[in-house]
Every structure is written in structure tokens, then in C-alpha cells.
């Protein structure tokens, strides 16, 4: 399958703290990659580098041919609270008649709104989602899982950072873990369920 997104030896430091150290990662069309890692390991930074929002200090981000449409959603706190829902939705070509402001919604509703609008961009060949299941109720989680699967089956390359291993397991084709600034594949080492292996990898590192 065609590689849609490639991070080649990406390095990023904030002051003396090297968040990403020579990260190599490929995401192909029709593939969903789960990105796991402890708090502060650089998952958000990696996604923002992939989205072109943060410039790597070294290495580069490559897309197929020219830059494709990228759909990035960084969580409900990235939505502007003072904007009317109706007007914000119109930017994505979605018609909603809700006249409330985004800030008047509950956290979960904001998350669901942001995800619905981001995923509505059917032109996007690359989906980058940061903790997408956070704050969603079971119905919302189910909807998100189904939507991601549909986009993946339609040929989109999906990269998701999350700690929700059960949800990740239901949509991801493979996993990588950020550990000490490096991106390491999480491979099956025994016959335990994959979720248990992810928990084990996060707790003990991939070298255990």
C-alpha cells in the first residue's frame, strides 16, 4: 500500500528537553496506527509535527506527492469557545442550526462536535487524532470507532494517540510506542490479548 505519511529521523527539542529523537514512522493508506506512550512522552508533539504545525529541528515529514489534505484534531480545548456552533460548522461545510457558543457545551459535547466536523472532511487523506475518545460517552465512542474504520477502509491513513487501549485495539492495525523520544513498534511477543500487551509495554517498556 502507498505510504501517505512518513516521518524521517524527526528530532524535536524544547530547550534542553529532547521530546522526539530520530523518530521514524510510516503510515500507509488504509492503515490505522495507534500511538501510545506515557504522559509527556511527546505524542501530541509528534502529531503536530506530522500535521505541519511544529517544525522538526532535524529530519523531515514527507507526504505522498504534493501535500495532501490533512485532518488534525487536537481535542476539545482547541475549539474557540466564543464562536457560535452554527458558524464554526459552516467552515467545514456542515449545516448545524445550533446558535449556542462552543464554550456553552459540555466537555464531551465539544469533543464530539470537534470530531464530527474533523471527520466530516472526506477529502482528507490523512487523519491525525489526539486522544479522540476522551470525554465521549459509550454511544459517542462507538460512533467514533465506526467512523475511523470507515475512513480507514476508504483508504485514509490514520494515526491516533490515545491511552484507551480497548478502543485503540478495535480500530488499529498496528501500534507504536514513544519511549525516551524514540518511536518503537509494539510487536506481539506471546499469546496474551493485544490490549494486555499494550498495557505491559507501557508499564515496562518495549524492551521487557
Amino acid at each position: 500500500m502507498k505510504t501517505r505519511l512518513e516521518l524521517a529521523a524527526v528530532t524535536k527539542a524544547f530547550g534542553p528537553h529532547c521530546v522526539l529523537n530520530q523518530v521514524w514512522l510510516q503510515v500507509r493508506a488504509g492503515e490505522t496506527v495507534g500511538l501510545i506512550g506515557g504522559n509527556g512522552t511527546g505524542k501530541t508533539t509528534l502529531l503536530r509535527v506530522a500535521a505541519g504545525l511544529v517544525r522538526p529541528d532535524a529530519g523531515c515529514v514527507r507526504w505522498t506527492d504534493t501535500r495532501p489534505a490533512v485532518c488534525y484534531f487536537g481535542g476539545e480545548m482547541t475549539l474557540p469557545p466564543d464562536v457560535a456552533i452554527r458558524r464554526w460548522a459552516s467552515l467545514f461545510g456542515v449545516r448545524l442550526e445550533d446558535r449556542r457558543r462552543i464554550g456553552q457545551l459540555s466537555r464531551g459535547s465539544r469533543q464530539q462536535l470537534g470530531l464530527r466536523l474533523a471527520i466530516s472532511r472526506t477529502d482528507a487523506e490523512i487523519l491525525l487524532l489526539d486522544e479522540p475518545w476522551e470525554g465521549l460517552d459509550p454511544d459517542g465512542s462507538e460512533w467514533l470507532t465506526g467512523s475511523v474504520r470507515r475512513r480507514r477502509d476508504a483508504g485514509a491513513a490514520v494515526l491516533i494517540a490515545s491511552h484507551r487501549f480497548h478502543d485503540l485495539d478495535s480500530v488499529c492495525t498496528r501500534f507504536v510506542m514513544l519511549e525516551r523520544g524514540r518511536c518503537i513498534p509494539v510487536t506481539a511477543q506471546d499469546k496474551r490479548p493485544r490490549v494486555e500487551q499494550l498495557v505491559h509495554a507501557l508499564a515496562h517498556g518495549t524492551r521487557q
Partner: protein
């Protein structure tokens, strides 16, 4: 995302409602002032210039690092066209009010006192629009305007003689004087209002160039800024 960056910023809203209310009030008072006494056009424009100091300093980076501009920054539009649109959307309300006031003044026959659509008055408006936006690029909303106003107030309190006693009546002045006067025009563009402005020849054009260079510098280096999320690793 198929919308243009300019439309994105008009929807997101760069100006809080209260500043637009103040702008409407100042425009109304200005039009009324000009209607009552066309000779007072510079008082009306001066007030509008003061409001534009706050309106134009909308702040780009702070909101971008909250993620509010993520959809447009990850769209196919380049970051440079995004910041140009941000500048246009930031200064548009003030420029609109300025144009309205100038047209009203012209219609009411204040032509004898000069127009605000060209000459030094327009340069003053463009300087404020460029400098306030540039200075506030990495600051919060209206912060650059507040700092600028505080600085001017302090200069006023200490009776700073901005222009000094340069022999500007002479046809030839040193380039240092021209540069100093250009700097003064950038720092205090209010001095450019009026029919006879006390600046050395060439200094107003130089001031306009300085303001344009500030905008150009942001445009040139905007790709170097990281739009990381605040409080996120």
C-alpha cells in the same frame, strides 16, 4: 477545508464585541464632529487611530497555540497566506471606519482641510495598522495596543520632545535626522495628523517603509514559529 483564510478569521472572530462597540461609538462621534465642524477632522481621526492601536493588535501566536487556528493552519493554504489574511482581518474594521469617516468628511465639504484617504493621514493609519499587529503578533489580544498607549502616555507626562530642534525648514537635512523623524513617526503616528506636519522631507516615506518592513519580517519568518499546544509536551 474549502474556506479562505480571511473567511476563517472573520468567522472565528478576532475582535471581541466590546471593541467593535467602542469602534462604532468612536466612528459615530467622529462623523458627528466632522459634520459639526469640518476643521476638526483630525480630532475625529486621532480618536479612531487610538482605537485602531487596540483593534489591530489581535495577537496571532497566543490563539494559534491554543489550537484555535489548527483547521486553517493544517489546510492547503500556506502559513504566509494565513498570516496575511489574519492581518487583513485584524485591521479591516478600523480601516472601514476610517474610510467611512473620510468619505463623510469629503461629502460634507471638508476638502479645504485635506483628505484622510491619502497623504500623511493615511500613512498614520497604515503605520498604526502595521505596527500594532506586528508588535502584538506574539502577545495576547490588545496587549500591544495597551503597551503602546502606556508608552505614549508616559512620553506625554514626561513632556518628551520627540522631534527635537532639527532644522527641518532647511531644504537639506541629514539622513540621521530623516531616520530619527521616521522613527518618531512610527512611534507616535498621531503627529502625522494635521495639515502641516513637522517632519523632515523624506521621513514620512521612510516611516511607511519601516512599517512595511515590520510586516514583511513577520511574513518572511512566520514559517519558523512552532504552533505547539500550550501546556502540552
Amino acid at each position: 477545508m474549502n474556506v479562505s483564510p480571511f473567511r476563517f478569521f472573520t468567522v472565528v472572530g478576532l475582535h471581541p464585541l466590546h471593541t467593535l462597540v467602542v469602534l462604532a461609538a468612536v466612528t459615530g462621534v467622529g462623523v458627528w464632529t466632522i459634520a459639526m465642524s469640518p476643521a476638526e477632522i483630525d480630532s475625529a481621526l486621532g480618536l479612531l487611530l487610538f482605537v485602531q492601536m487596540f483593534l489591530a493588535s489581535t495577537g496571532f501566536l497566543v490563539r494559534a497555540r491554543r489550537g484555535h487556528f489548527d483547521p486553517i493552519l493544517t489546510s492547503a493554504y500556506g502559513r504566509r497566506s494565513v498570516v496575511v489574511s489574519h492581518w487583513l482581518a485584524s485591521v479591516a474594521p478600523g480601516l472601514g471606519a476610517w474610510t467611512l469617516m473620510s468619505v463623510v468628511a469629503w461629502a460634507l465639504g471638508s476638502g479645504a482641510y485635506g483628505s484622510a484617504l491619502y497623504g500623511t493621514r493615511l500613512v498614520a493609519m497604515l503605520i498604526v495598522s502595521a505596527v500594532a499587529w506586528t508588535a502584538g503578533f506574539a502577545l495576547g489580544r490588545s496587549a500591544a495596543g495597551a503597551l503602546w498607549a502606556a508608552g505614549l502616555l508616559a512620553a506625554l507626562l514626561y513632556k518628551t520632545d520627540f522631534l527635537g530642534s532639527a532644522p527641518i525648514e532647511f531644504p537639506v537635512v541629514s539622513s540621521l535626522t530623516v531616520l530619527r523623524h521616521a522613527g518618531v513617526a512610527v512611534v507616535c503616528p498621531f503627529l502625522l495628523l494635521g495639515t502641516r506636519v513637522p517632519f523632515a522631507p523624506g521621513s514620512i516615506a521612510a516611516a511607511g517603509c519601516i512599517a512595511a518592513l515590520l510586516l514583511l519580517a513577520v511574513w518572511r519568518f512566520v514559517d519558523a514559529f512552532d504552533v505547539y499546544l500550550r501546556d502540552h509536551a
